[in-house]
Symmetry: C2
Subunit: 345 residues, 2 copies
DNA sequence: CTGAAAGCGCTTACAG
DNA sequence: CTGAAAGCGCTTACAG
């Protein structure tokens, strides 16, 4: 088969100059309408597509966004955080809708991603999706800023004000979850999830939890908080630690659904009934949540909307427009793990 | 901040020509080792990255793969087939391991994707992931072939021999699933899923099912087969149709986990006990499968391995190497929905 | 409205 | 081992 058609081939066939072809294909009003249409027809016939490399090189942009998904290094290779997967879906769609392409890459937090895509002119902007330990890559973000890269990070507000972050209101989510459990009559609510500043999102959920307790006059009991990272195994382990501690509790709010599912497994194994003896509320509303047994009451983050906002924001950054921090409201999804009287599917 | 460094900047600092810089950065042995190292050091210091657009334009390749995920148009926008998501994860990793970038795009089967990425020189090859109705895009594949595009499709063997497909052995999967149910003493096994050639993967699972029945002297009863596409809702509906038909059955094998989950919901709603009265086996082993209630016995496709093979295959195609059709073995994951005596987590 | 020309930043034959 | 030069396929200021 013949090699790809170029604008010169079209120019030859149309009997005009290559410049005119280029203009016509970009639908420039400078070109006579009739000529334009003729050229476009030929292009279509030849199945011509503008060479993006040449075009990008010349225009100095790529009409491409890069999505870097930074995983917990502790996470099993084969198991991507389902919440990210969902975000990926919505980001892909939103990017396409804006006429951009999306380069996707999974990164270990440890690797040297700080300067790759935008530097090599493959992407005009970067979206960072990462749950784990933000401290670890603070200096990498600094590097991005220093280099004037256009990027948005998903998650908690960053202490470096130059970093644009878009995320769900974790504090509100934590507050609502705990408020719900309190409303159901629970008094001793444990929290499973890292509460340190190393996991700002989990920490904010924890702080919301603490505030909800305080708003009804209950002081958070540190014995009821146990660290866990975002895996089922970690939730299983943390619940066992909690159980072993002998401290009384009648409910658990976990920093993620995966943790909740692990915790429920631990509770069941010890013969603790969920929700009769211990109510559980998770966070994320991953697909598995509604199929857990009992079905998980959880805090839903609207990934569809979040993806759109994320894409829209990088694009604004790229265009030099004003963008601001943004907190997306979460909402409670009541199923049966909390003991509220709801019929599951 | 200053604009991006180019090879000329480096040449200037190093006191050599730009050509030498280019060679040195590609680690050409033609360049004196010492000079090479000096240049590389300067490049590092300036945080220089080769401009991919320029490089690709010159080299006429992109070191990029495109992944087109073609969704069932019937599928809800927000809900991506979890199996694809899993494939996406493994393909992303495999691509990165090979030093390629991955462009991801979700496509409606209806849209005009046939000529995009490779034509515009954005990708060297394409991986097609699509469950739905292959007939619909047969002519698009023809177009790809005609244009000499490097691509692999995931799924059933294609009747057009020029199409390279990599997929799991659906016939074997269907056979093993049904064999398992037969082994548990079930005699009237229904099949939920499209059995027409419009869904070659589902059809092959069905044929495996039929063959397993025949191998024990049972003739497949067409009254026990009901069409369903790959959604929970469709499975719910198909199970109801089956139930309404009044035909006796003691087990269901479904063409996908999503269908199985919908079917179980329908059975439960009618007061049919799973697995006591009706055993169920699904297909795919999506993450939700182990959390379904009862936990789903299913046929697992090794997405990790499949992703690697897929990437490896396009790459071979690109390099002009020999590649052949490939069927990946599936295996049975026994949980409790089939009634086998297994303890779930 | 159209064309000739420059140039985006590389890679690589060609000549030394 | 190194440099000068061509050229990948576009876009766009400049001149008409």
């Amino acid at each position: 088969m013949a090699s790809k058609a170029t604008s010169i081939d079209i120019a030859y066939r149309a009997g005009v100059s290559q410049s005119t072809v280029s203009r016509a294909l970009r639908n420039s009003p400078l070109v006579n309408l009739e000529t334009r249409q003729r050229i476009q027809a030929i292009a279509k016939e030849l199945n011509y597509k503008v060479d993006k490399n040449a075009s990008n090189l010349r225009m100095q942009n790529s009409h491409t966004l890069a999505l870097l998904i930074c995983e917990d290094p502790t996470n099993d290779e084969s198991m991507i955080n389902p919440f990210f997967l969902s975000m990926l879906g919505s980001i892909t769609r939103a990017t396409a809708r804006q006429g951009y392409d999306l380069l996707v890459s999974f990164q270990q937090l440890s690797t040297d991603w700080h300067a790759d895509y935008e530097d090599s002119n493959k992407a005009d902007g970067i979206i960072l999706l990462g749950y784990g330990d933000y401290m670890d890559y603070a200096h990498k973000l600094d590097k991005l800023i220093e280099k004037n890269t256009h990027f948005v990070i998903w998650g908690a507000e960053h202490n470096n004000k130059a970093v644009l972050s878009i995320g769900c209101d974790n504090h509100q989510g934590g507050f609502v979850a705990t408020e719900h459990l309190l409303g159901l009559g629970h008094k001793h609510i444990a929290f499973l999830g890292d509460s340190s500043s190393r996991s700002p999102e989990f920490r904010d959920r924890y702080l919301g939890h603490v505030d909800a307790l305080q708003s009804t006059g209950i002081e958070a009991d540190t014995q009821l908080q146990h660290d866990a990272i975002n895996t089922e195994a970690s939730g299983y382990h943390a619940a066992n630690v909690l159980l072993d501690s002998g401290v009384t509790f009648d409910a658990i709010f976990t920093a993620s659904d995966l943790i909740a599912i692990g915790a429920i497994r631990a509770l069941k194994k010890r013969g603790v009934l969920v929700p009769e003896q211990v109510a559980v509320v998770g966070y994320d509303d991953i697909p598995v949540a509604s199929f857990a047994n009992p079905a998980l009451t959880t805090i839903k983050q609207d990934t569809q909307f979040a993806g759109e906002i994320l894409v829209e924001s990088v694009l604004k950054l790229i265009r030099g427009q004003e963008v601001s921090q943004r907190l997306i409201k979460t909402h409670l999804v009541v199923r049966s793990s909390c003991g509220a009287n709801v019929e599951d599917n």
